[in-house]
């Protein structure tokens, strides 16, 4: 089926070449990082995780969000998602790939990465992270490919794929529960040591994933002959709405616990993020934009006419996605390290080489996404649906 990605209009190739250029600059920056060391990034002895791990944390949520489409369709027969189940899975694949790439570029000794498998350590959450990410990638590749292949032949998917789909549905929450456990089990970091970290991860994933899917479906409809379906997009938007509200509520719970209890260690990181601490305010603009975008997202997504009109829907979904990207992708990781164990503030901001590498990894993800969506859209363009637009019929 890969040959379907080899035929395209000039704008398709232009987009791929543009991504290729970004991938190349990212790769060259990474060679520079391999030569000099991770010192070329903005990370320091006190903020020892930065942009790379932040992006991984955010993307693990996007990867898991495929379950918001797969679960209603396969478990509850929600027919409206029939057309886009594969679209959801084909978003999970590049997301997981980007997660693994971000971890790889963050390692100080990447050549030794297989030590994690050679010396299995069941008490380490990171060991489980490697297993669940790899397993999720394989599961999604398998399920997405087999189902799309069946669609291409206008036949129902083979029966043996069903157990794998159910496993994938259970596996999806596990990848970001495990990632949340990376943070919520560390005794010295008061911004992270909260039981609802895993819940926050789940809710922000199920808000940002469907929001991205809404935008991607609108793009797919505009640029190909495949129409994901108006109701499917609306249901995705409603999913994103509820989970965005839950995410904001969860963050509000954190703020309440920190400030009503007045425990200094819990208040300090939140103060740093929103108002600055001891004159250090690097992340305050980031959080201000985050709050502003969250407000836009909520207003648009909660108001039915604004959610129905696809122009405002696109704006609202994009705002939601970017807001949660700022929250999980930067502020969560950096906020955990500030103040440091000695109650001092050392700030962090990514450097140019670091940003180029991150951009390169994102471009790899978008490259894979483009190719997979091209294949899926080409197959689905040729599919004929019944008069309800749901079940595919043989012509």
């Amino acid at each position: 089926m890969l040959e379907l990605a080899l035929k395209g209009k000039p704008r398709y190739w232009l987009w791929l070449i543009f991504l290729g250029v970004l991938i190349t600059t990212g790769f060259i920056s990474y060679l520079y990082q391999l030569k000099i060391g991770l010192g070329i990034t903005g990370m320091s002895r006190d903020v020892s995780w930065g942009l790379y791990i932040g992006q991984f944390t955010f993307l693990v949520g996007v990867a898991a969000s495929a379950v918001t489409v797969v679960l209603p369709y396969y478990l509850h027969n929600y027919k409206k998602y029939g057309r886009i189940a594969v679209i959801g899975e084909f978003l999970a694949i590049p997301s997981v790939l980007m997660c693994m790439l971000f971890i790889f570029v963050d390692l100080g000794q990447p050549m030794r990465v297989l030590n994690v498998l050679l010396h299995p350590t069941p008490n380490s959450v990171m060991f489980y992270d490697m297993i669940v990410l790899s397993g999720y990638l394989i599961l999604n590749l398998l399920c997405g490919w087999v189902i799309l292949m069946a669609e291409r032949k206008a036949a129902p998917p083979p029966k043996w794929i069903k157990p794998f789909i159910y496993i994938a549905i259970c596996w999806a929450p596990s990848i970001h529960i495990v990632t949340a456990f990376l943070y919520q089990g560390l005794p010295g970091r008061e911004y992270w040591i909260t039981a609802i970290m895993a819940a926050k991860f789940l809710s922000s994933a199920f808000a940002s994933g469907p929001a991205l899917l809404v935008v991607l479906c609108l793009i797919v409809r505009k640029f190909t002959n495949f129409d994901p379906g108006k109701e499917a997009i609306q249901t995705l938007a409603k999913t994103a709405t509820y989970f965005l509200l839950v995410t904001i509520a969860f963050y509000g719970f954190e703020v309440f616990t920190a400030f009503y209890s007045s425990i200094p260690g819990h208040m300090a990181p939140i103060k740093y993020l929103f108002a600055g601490l001891e004159g250090h305010t690097k992340l305050v603009p980031v959080m201000s934009i985050c709050v502003f975008l969250a407000a836009i997202g909520v207003i648009i997504l909660v108001t039915p006419p604004l959610r129905k009109w696809e122009v405002t829907l696109a704006i609202g979904a994009a705002a939601t996605f970017i807001c949660l990207w700022l929250e999980k992708g930067i502020s969560l990781v950096v906020g955990g390290f500030i103040p440091n164990p000695f109650e001092r503030v050392f700030e962090y901001w990514p450097t140019l080489p670091e940003t180029l590498i991150a951009l390169g990894v994102w471009s790899v993800g978008f490259f894979v996404l483009t190719i997979l969506y091209k294949i899926a859209a080409t197959v689905k363009e040729k599919a004929v649906f019944d008069k309800y637009g749901e079940k595919q019929i043989k012509t």
């Binding site: 100080g108 030794r112 994690v116 010396h119 380490s124 959450v125 970091r189 164990p341 000695f342 109650e343």
Partner: protein
């Protein structure tokens, strides 16, 4: 006996599995026992033994001069680089003030003298270390004698241990450290970029029968011994004096005690 093909294949499969599995298990477990029996590798007879090494730092007996001596001898012995940029610095043992080393203890009416009293801080070699719990490759591990060790050969540089340590005791090699080492100690290796390092309670000296370097130059201000030995000097000092540890409420059970 007459046996059908299906049953034969099942028996063959199970036997192959047991055979290969058994052989692997022998390789992993059994061979180790046989080699140990051959006694190719031994501890030297003068190596110091203990069940839980601990340190008691008497802040009354320490002044800045002695503390700087401790830091100098440790960093020189272990080829710890001297990096000027505080963001990338590597330190195994260093000085910080009381207010920041024991956060939460200070109050508004505490004298400046006490708040700014210099304290010698290092890795606490906890009994329930968070860093060992999170390391995905066991590159940092707890030895049988309680020392939290670093295996530089296995470390993949993921820095999960640095996030987990509640005491900020660990440093990462953000660049090649050799450019920052003025005088190399030829009897000890350096590290390369991309691995985490920290104080290792001078395991290489303990395994040769010597106390840690900082203890040796501390002029009696740092006492080193086995907490599990009721007759050791550390136990005596701890039972006779008021002692505190850093962040005890977190449950990592640090092995470094401070006498105020």
């Amino acid at each position: 006996m007459i046996i059908d093909r299906r049953k034969f294949l099942k028996i063959l499969g199970v036997s192959a599995f047991i055979g290969i599995g058994g052989w692997s298990t022998f390789e992993v477990i059994g061979r180790g026992q046989i080699e140990a029996f051959a006694e190719k590798y031994r501890k030297v007879p003068e190596a110091l033994q203990a069940k839980r090494w601990a340190m008691v730092i008497d802040l009354k007996k320490l002044d800045e001069k002695i503390m700087n001596e401790c830091i100098k001898v440790c960093h020189k012995l272990h080829n710890v680089p001297d990096i000027p940029n505080p963001k990338e610095e590597i330190k195994w043992i260093w000085i910080d003030d009381f207010e920041h080393s024991f956060p939460g203890f200070e109050h508004e009416y505490m004298s400046h003298e006490i708040k700014e009293k210099p304290v010698l801080v290092l890795c606490n070699h906890c009994d329930n270390p968070a860093c060992v719990r999170v390391c995905p490759t066991k590159a940092t591990f707890k030895r049988k004698d309680g020392i939290v060790m670093m295996d530089m050969h296995r470390c993949i540089g993921c820095r999960f241990c640095m996030a987990a340590c509640p005491f900020g005791a660990r440093s990462f090699n953000w660049k090649d450290p050799r450019q920052y080492i003025k005088e190399e100690n030829k009897e000890f290796p350096t590290r390369m970029k991309g691995v985490v390092e920290k104080c290792t309670f001078c395991y290489e000296r303990i395994d040769r029968g010597l106390p840690p370097a900082c203890v040796e130059v501390s002029q009696g201000a740092i006492i080193f011994g086995d907490l599990a030995d009721p007759n050791s000097e550390v136990r005596k000092v701890l039972s006779e004096n008021f002692s505190i540890r850093r962040k005890p409420a977190l449950g990592t059970e640090p092995s470094v005690y401070y006498l105020l």
